[in-house]
């Protein structure tokens, strides 16, 4: 990325942090709390998610057949189905159906994707959004910033100002209640005057042609009820086999999105249906004088749009995107989204976690490129997704594809540092961070000179200009002696006969070259518990290149790691990992990078270090061999991937068992996220996210606690933002 582009991007992010960040953060916080509470109430949450996913997998697999099915069913009921290739095709059809009449619309992201409002207005029709948030945006002439709550970036005060200015009511509007009443009345009249009701569809049951609409306000019901022509638009992926299949989705969608057990209305419409309509448009004077008219000859059009979806279905990496039910949990649970919102975190239509997949599929990679890097791969969204989509993986794959399509200009600078398998022209910044292992090896070999040079003003400014490494961020200082070298010289201290177990401690690049002290502490702690430790020279896990979208480099790293650890695995040893994001690689992403048996071996036999300690203690190891906390007060920040894997409780429990008084953070992410916080275009955002964590560690209860964190990035971030120097928890247990 050119230096100007970086600066422009940083400016835009700063602007959004200032103008929209607060509203988005407050609103997503409410959604998240609701989601945690509401899903905890579900006894069979995991089973429901599995069920939902299985239905979507099956439906997408059989999609062509289901499309035939739904067409037959709708036509048998007297409605029509139009399968549109793309937006232009759908708009042409809808414009013909509407034929210049007044349209009232309920919220539909698919119709945003098609820009149907523009097409209709060009043809002379009036289109009114009736969802209150969409109405606000229509009045403000702004784009949605969230797939469920499109005006999430606007505060009540801003909406009040907008309405007072545009509508000039007798009494200025102020409270949420007043604003809602005003909009209800205003839109109520528009609905009475309209002849066409347009809706989306959350789901379409193929066997009966039934649409499911999930709403809270009741406007979708009114739009359909009051008018005598109903046009429903939806992506082809919304079709599921039968009405019964709706059930898991109905129980999951509201909980996952806004944290409601159930939204106020789940409407099942099998149009045309016989519910009465308001019929003609009030020729007899006031529209209110009209009688209810029989609804049986209502006109119904179901427009199902492909727009790239059938191609996504053929794409092994993008296919999962089609399982998405647009609940917004991935956006709400995303730390970066919480701070900047969908105007930074989205493309032409979709925003938030899964937006990359949607934008890449329906609008092409360019639309996704703009915001794709905002996903740090922290994985906090993965467990929140009701259909278990591996959203970070989709983001990684799209990043990889974007990498392959660009050309860079400063390639020579990192040439030689980059023994990677990536295409020429890959952004040098990505290339630099993606090859951290090599960088660290050189840095360590030339330490401390390399550290001094890297910190010097001219070098920092060159790095900022050419590689986008923000000069405000302190660079890691490489140790002269690596952990592997230290251990080689020292040797194991537990003999094979007295060993309770034997473990290979995986020396991730950071531990090996930068924070060797935590590696040494881990060795001593394990030995104190009777474990014979070895430290094989295994390189970087592939996390660094993966986070830059350099999938093939990540794959070769993974292969090398497996090769280095294979003898230990073959000998039945455990693999102990200090860095949580590497445990996450071994258990998760390696499935995509290694042959199944190799991944299985690593998945089964690798442990996060504190998880391992916890297991040793549970199996009779002597806890007294570890340092005692004696009531020491500490503030602990787990790590996002560690929490996704459910590993946080082990650390807390071990520390408590040793007598530490532990307070924990509950923010989604530290904001540093590997290389993210070094990049000049994202530095401000990284710090803004980090401030939320700092807030939690500077309260009355936490301000005097020693700070402990599991992840490398989290340690760096806390180190930069707090005056207390943070440590890895294993160091607290080190008795020496």
């Amino acid at each position: 990325m050119a230096v100007d582009d970086r600066r422009r991007k940083a400016e835009r992010i700063r602007h959004l942090l200032e103008t929209e960040g607060d509203s988005v953060r407050e609103n997503t916080r409410v959604f998240n709390e609701g989601r945690y509470e509401s899903t905890a109430d579900l006894d069979d949450y995991e089973e429901l998610k599995d069920e939902a996913r299985a239905i979507k997998e099956d439906a997408i697999e059989r999609l062509p057949e289901l499309l035939d099915r739904v067409t037959e069913a709708v036509e048998a009921n007297g409605g029509s189905v139009y399968l549109a290739d793309d937006a232009a095709d759908a708009n042409r059809y809808i414009t013909e159906v509407v034929d210049g009449r007044n349209v009232v619309k309920s919220k539909s992201m698919t119709s945003e994707e098609m820009d149907v409002n523009d097409a209709l207005e060009e043809s002379g029709a009036d289109v009114r959004e009736t969802d209150l948030a969409e109405f606000v945006l229509q009045v403000a002439d702004e784009a949605p910033s969230h797939i469920v709550a499109p005006a999430i970036h606007k505060s009540r005060e801003e909406i009040a100002d907008l309405f007072n200015e545009v509508f000039d009511p007798e009494e200025p509007l102020e409270t949420a209640e007043e604003l809602t009443r005003f909009a209800r009345e205003y839109l109520g009249e528009e609905i009475l005057d309209a002849e066409v009701g347009m809706t989306g569809a959350n789901f379409v049951a193929a066997d009966t042609g039934t649409l499911a609409l999930v709403t809270s306000e009741g406007n979708a019901r009114k739009c359909v009820q009051a008018t005598d022509t109903h046009v429903a638009v939806a992506g082809v992926e919304k079709v599921i086999p039968s009405v019964e299949d709706l059930r898991p989705f109905v129980e999951l969608i509201g909980r996952s999105g806004t944290g409601q057990d159930l939204t106020s209305y789940v409407s099942l419409l099998t149009p045309p249906g016989d519910s009465p309509t308001f019929g003609g448009s009030g020729e007899s004077g006031s529209p209110g004088d009209r009688d209810l008219e029989p609804g049986d000859d209502r006109e119904f059009h179901l427009v199902l749009i492909d727009n790239g979806r059938m191609a996504m279905r053929e794409d092994d990496d993008l296919r999962e995107t089609l399982y998405c039910i647009r609940c917004s949990a991935c956006a709400n649970s995303c730390a970066n989204f919480q701070h900047v919102g969908g105007h930074a975190f989205g493309g032409e239509t979709y925003s938030g976690g899964i937006a990359t997949g949607w934008e890449a599929g329906v609008h092409g990679q360019e639309s996704a490129a703009e915001f794709n890097d905002l996903c740090t791969g922290c994985s906090r969204c993965v467990n929140q997704c009701p259909v278990k989509i591996d959203i970070p993986w989709i983001n990684t794959v799209v990043r990889d594809r974007i990498n392959r399509g660009t050309d860079g200009e400063f390639d020579f600078l990192v040439e030689g540092l980059t023994p990677d398998a990536e295409p020429g022209g890959l952004d040098p910044q990505k290339r630099l961070f993606g090859n951290f292992d090599t960088l660290a090896r050189l840095g360590s070999a030339f330490a401390p000179v390399s550290n001094r040079i890297a910190r010097s003003g001219p070098v920092r400014s060159l790095m900022e200009r050419t590689l986008g490494v923000d000069r405000r961020r302190e660079l890691p200082a490489f140790e002269r002696e690596t952990l592997v070298e230290w251990f080689e010289a020292r040797g194991p201290r537990v003999s094979p006969d007295e060993a309770r177990r034997t473990a290979a401690l995986y020396p991730d690049a950071y531990t090996n070259y930068v924070r060797t002290e935590r590696g040494k502490a881990a060795v001593r702690v394990l030995e104190a518990l009777g474990v014979r430790v070895e430290v094989p020279a295994a390189g970087e896990s592939g996390r660094a290149p993966l986070s830059q979208g350099m999938v093939s480099t990540a794959r070769s790293n993974a292969e090398a790691v497996y090769e280095a650890l294979a003898p230990s695995l073959a000998a039945g040893r455990d693999v102990v990992v200090i860095e949580p994001s590497d445990v996450a690689m071994f258990r998760g992403e390696y499935e995509r990078l290694l042959p199944e048996d190799e991944h299985a071996a690593l998945r089964e036999d690798s442990y996060e270090v504190m998880e391992y300690v916890h297991g040793l203690l549970a199996n009779g190891a002597d806890a007294d061999a570890l340092a005692a906390g004696d009531g020491e007060r500490i503030a602990y920040h787990s790590h996002c991937q560690q929490r996704t894997l459910g590993l946080e409780p082990h650390t807390v429990s071990v520390l408590e068992e040793r007598g530490f008084d532990v307070a924990t953070s509950d923010v989604e992410c530290c904001g540093m996220a590997g290389s993210f916080g070094y990049k000049s275009e994202y530095y401000d955002l990284s710090v803004d996210v980090g401030e939320s964590l700092v807030d939690q560690f500077t309260t009355d209860d936490t301000a005097d606690r020693a700070v402990v964190a599991s992840g490398t990035s989290c340690l760096e971030q806390l180190d930069a933002l707090l005056s207390r120097r943070p440590a890895h928890p294993v160091r607290l247990l080190d008795a020496r």
Partner: protein
């Protein structure tokens, strides 16, 4: 009818802030009348021995709907786990009557309270296949948080009351 779903139904309704009025066919009118704010609209009730008082307009015009303070309809069934009622739309106008008035009073027979969503969707599927064109699982009043705070009564009713016919 085992009492358990009814107890769950009641506590779910309480949780979402909805009053449950327990009555019988005989007591129906006197249970309903204090809850009828005029003008009221309604649709004929399908329960034997139960009918709406004369004050309720059962053949409303659009203007009547717009002006209505109370709208009374039958609910096809209730969902105990969630405190939901299922409004089946039909030619009598259950859909608009339940939607336009400020307060919706849903009348449900005790024997039609289903335990959970699984039972509900089995029943809904059956209904759809038998020709019910429209069914709304309604849970609480309409609501929005789009204007900066949670407001009850967005486009639909701001209040809901459920009347349970214990002997039906």
């Amino acid at each position: 009818m085992p009492t358990e779903p009814l107890a769950t139904f009641e506590s779910s309704l309480t949780e979402i802030g909805i009053e449950l009025v327990r009555t019988t066919a005989e007591g129906f009118e006197s249970a309903l009348s204090p809850r009828l704010d005029a003008p009221a609209v309604g649709t004929p009730l399908p329960f034997a021995g139960v009918s709406l008082p004369d004050a309720v307009e059962t053949d409303p015009t659009v203007a009547d709907l717009e002006a209505a303070r109370t709208g009374v309809t039958a609910a096809g069934y209730g969902v105990a786990d969630y405190g939901s009622v299922v409004i089946r739309g039909g030619p009598a106008g259950e859909e608009p009557v339940s939607l336009y008035a400020d307060e919706h009073v849903a009348v449900v027979a005790a024997s039609d309270v289903l335990p959970d969503m699984e039972a509900t969707f089995d029943r809904l599927a059956e209904d759809v296949r038998e020709g019910t064109g429209r069914a709304v699982i309604a849970t609480g009043p309409s609501a929005t948080a789009d204007m900066g705070a949670l407001v009850k009564g967005a486009h639909g009713p701001m209040e809901v009351t459920v009347v349970l016919l214990e002997d039906r």
